[in-house]
């Protein structure tokens, strides 16, 4: 597996950080570059300011950073569709405590794809 994974994270981010409960309202994103099935690089980037109805801002932001895969615990229908339509695969990682555990699980093929059944109202009612 060679890819760039984004994980909504609680501060300070990184592999040991907790997953952000909801992608649109997380503190920041941990970006994990994976090559040959192994973590090669970890970067931390801030989230974008959230406006009601501005669900597509983080989608476009992460797409521009080259993200190909997102692990999330919660997300609304619109951003899920936005990620899917942008070619970013979304996986459900809500059962994992840390970013690193979730990343290892997706590398091992143990995470389910985030489906419409996983979608939620999203904190703040807009994402």
């Amino acid at each position: 597996m060679n890819t760039l994974i984004a994980v909504p994270s609680a501060s300070p981010g990184g592999l040991d950080a907790s997953l952000g409960a909801h992608f649109g309202h997380c503190d920041l994103y941990t970006l994990v570059a994976v090559e040959d099935g192994k973590v090669k690089q970890v970067n931390i980037v801030p989230n974008v300011p959230h406006q009601q109805g501005g669900c597509m801002a983080p989608v476009q932001y992460l797409s521009q950073k080259g993200v190909k895969l997102l692990i999330a615990g919660g997300m609304g229908l619109r951003p899920l569709m936005g990620f899917n339509q942008s070619g970013i695969d979304v996986y459900y990682g809500g059962d994992f405590q840390t970013v690193g555990d979730a990343v290892n699980a997706v590398i091992a093929g143990k995470l389910p794809q985030f489906s419409q059944e996983h979608t939620c109202g999203g904190g703040g009612g807009s994402m």
């Binding site: 406006q51 009601q52 109805g53 501005g54 669900c55 597509m56 801002a57 989608v59 997300m75 609304g76 229908l77 619109r78 951003p79 569709m81 936005g82 339509q85 979608t119 939620c120 109202g121 999203g122 009612g125 807009s126 994402m127």
Partner: protein
């Protein structure tokens, strides 16, 4: 050009809102009649924003918006609804709807919408509507 499609069976109820929005020369408004062809026409038009009148969506207004998002999540949406704020929030969760409008929206709603569009688009839309 920022393109807006209004879906309604009663387009004159949007005359004040549309007039105020079109005071900004960067905004173009198209109208689509409510009905079974409306979804296909909106998807085909691929506007920046769709404004959906109450009871103009098939099979329901929120399902109509859901169908749009499933095909093109880049389209922002505004919905006319008489629901309370809480009811609207609960019914529309996850759909990323920009704002709720009252029936026959007027100048205050146009101003609020332009302010919201400025926030999410980064374009400095004229807020001084007349």
């Amino acid at each position: 050009m920022y393109r807006i499609v209004i879906v309604s069976s009663n387009p004159e109820s949007f005359s004040v809102l549309a007039g105020a929005l079109q005071a900004d020369s960067r905004i173009a408004i198209e109208r689509v009649a409510a009905g079974d062809q409306a979804l296909a026409l909106v998807i085909s038009a691929a506007p920046n924003l769709v404004i959906l009148d109450e009871k103009a969506g098939e099979p329901s207004d929120f399902e109509f918006i859901r169908s749009i998002m499933q095909r093109n999540a880049l389209i922002d949406a505004v919905v006319v609804s008489r629901l309370s704020e809480k009811e609207f929030h609960e019914s529309s969760e996850g759909l990323g709807i920009l704002m709720q409008l009252p029936p026959r929206p007027g100048l205050p709603e146009a101003e609020a919408l332009l302010a919201r569009l400025t926030l999410i688009s980064g374009k400095d839309f004229e807020r001084e509507v007349k």
